[in-house]
């Protein structure tokens, strides 16, 4: 009888020795993101030698340190730029970018936008916790209206950045958003993201009780985890309510965050087109060379 794969096997296989316990705060969801990524890699049967991780600066960017695979810990916001270089140098690698909301959309917003537009083959796992957690709780662009932060002591008056919809509008091949407390959907999405050619964005909503929850009266871990349950709605349900629902129902779901798979398309990635062009030009040059030598 073949044994079922055990969580302990996953940990001994993918976690770097001597790094645990993690530095993440009590109640942080970033650990879950690591776990889900491991399960996705295990289910796809990818060798850790074929994986390259990249990360910027922030809590989420500590993640490559815990994974038993090659990783880059790069400058603030530039993880996607470094990952593009990695993919260009070795197209056989599966490039995974771990990044936070402040890192990816605040500091490195343009790198993100253009990587999604060019459809570069990589999987971006974006851990959205609404705040710059590591530096002490400054307001991130993704924070909902009214959030309290150290740089917004009277409440946030700015519109929140809807990253997944932006990526979908830019034509990324795969876009999904899930809160971390649903285990199976993120695992499936990461799997699909890894096997998709082109740019895949998986936005995981990770609770931050220390920097975000504490200031917003959600400091208790279970309260914050339940907040996500009460303030999210599946895209399919949202669309149905917006089309067929009554006015009261529409108002009730208006401000909720949509979760689910935003976009799933099969289109060629940037580097596939690039290598095709390189081959085409080399053939042309070879033909010219032969003509000259004749």
């Amino acid at each position: 009888m073949a044994d079922m794969i055990n969580a302990n096997d996953i940990r001994t296989k993918y976690l770097r020795d001597g790094m645990l316990p993690t530095i993440f705060c009590n109640g942080c969801g970033h650990g879950n993101a690591i776990d889900y990524t491991f399960w996705a890699i295990e289910e796809l049967g990818i060798d850790t030698k074929d994986i390259a991780l990249a990360s910027g600066i922030g809590c989420s960017s500590r993640i490559p340190g815990y994974v038993n695979a090659d990783g880059l810990h790069t400058t603030h916001g530039r993880a996607i730029a470094f990952a593009t270089g990695t993919k260009a140098a070795n197209p056989d690698l599966n490039v995974i970018v771990f990044t936070g909301d402040g890192d990816c959309t605040g500091i490195g917003g343009n790198h993100f936008i253009h990587a999604a537009r060019r459809n570069i083959d990589m999987t971006v796992i974006l851990l959205n916790n609404f705040i710059y957690g590591m530096t002490g709780g400054q307001l991130a662009p993704t924070a909902p209206m009214g959030s309290i932060a150290t740089t917004a002591p009277y409440g946030n008056i700015e519109q929140a950045f809807n990253i997944s919809e932006l990526a979908a509008a830019l034509g990324a091949a795969y876009v999904a958003r899930w809160p971390v407390f649903y285990p199976y959907q993120p695992i499936k999405s990461i799997k699909e993201g890894l096997s998709t050619e082109g740019f895949a964005l998986i936005e995981l909503m990770s609770p931050c009780p220390t920097a975000y929850g504490r200031r917003n009266k959600l400091g208790k871990i279970d309260v914050l985890w339940n907040w996500y349950e009460d303030n999210t709605i599946l895209i399919e349900d949202y669309k149905k309510i917006m089309t067929y629902g009554t006015d009261d129902e529409k108002v009730a779901v208006m401000d909720k965050l949509q979760i689910g798979v935003f976009q799933q398309e099969s289109k060629k990635g940037f580097f596939e087109e690039y290598w095709k062009m390189v081959e085409m030009l080399m053939e042309r040059d070879d033909a010219k060379h032969k003509e000259v030598s004749k």
């Binding site: 794969i5 645990l20 109640g27 970033h30 879950n32 776990d35 399960w39 285990p183 695992i187």
Partner: protein, 88 residues
């Protein structure tokens, strides 16, 4: 059976709050960090759904199914686990 790496636990109690059959409770002994890690209740309805294992942010929980335990439960847990079914 639930194996817990006691010293990796930070005491967030997510496993206790999220258990669908309420099978976990706080233990009486402190760990190295000074928090009470979870433990399985003596009388419990654990169905080996593995939710605590997947939801633990600190990799501290492993759910194991012992040989000879209820076969129905075993099959159930196999099908649930993130799509991994090596053998049924």
């Amino acid at each position: 059976m639930i194996e817990i790496i006691v010293d990796w636990c930070k005491g967030c109690d997510i496993c206790i709050h999220r258990c669908p059959v309420d099978a976990l409770e706080k233990s009486e002994e402190l760990n190295k960090r000074g928090v009470y890690p979870p433990k399985l209740k003596e009388e419990n309805d654990c169905t080996h759904c593995r939710l605590c294992e997947l939801l633990c942010p600190d990799f501290a929980i492993t759910v194991t199914t012992e040989e000879g335990e209820d076969d129905d439960k075993k099959k159930k847990s196999k099908l649930i686990l993130g799509g991994i079914v090596n053998e049924v």
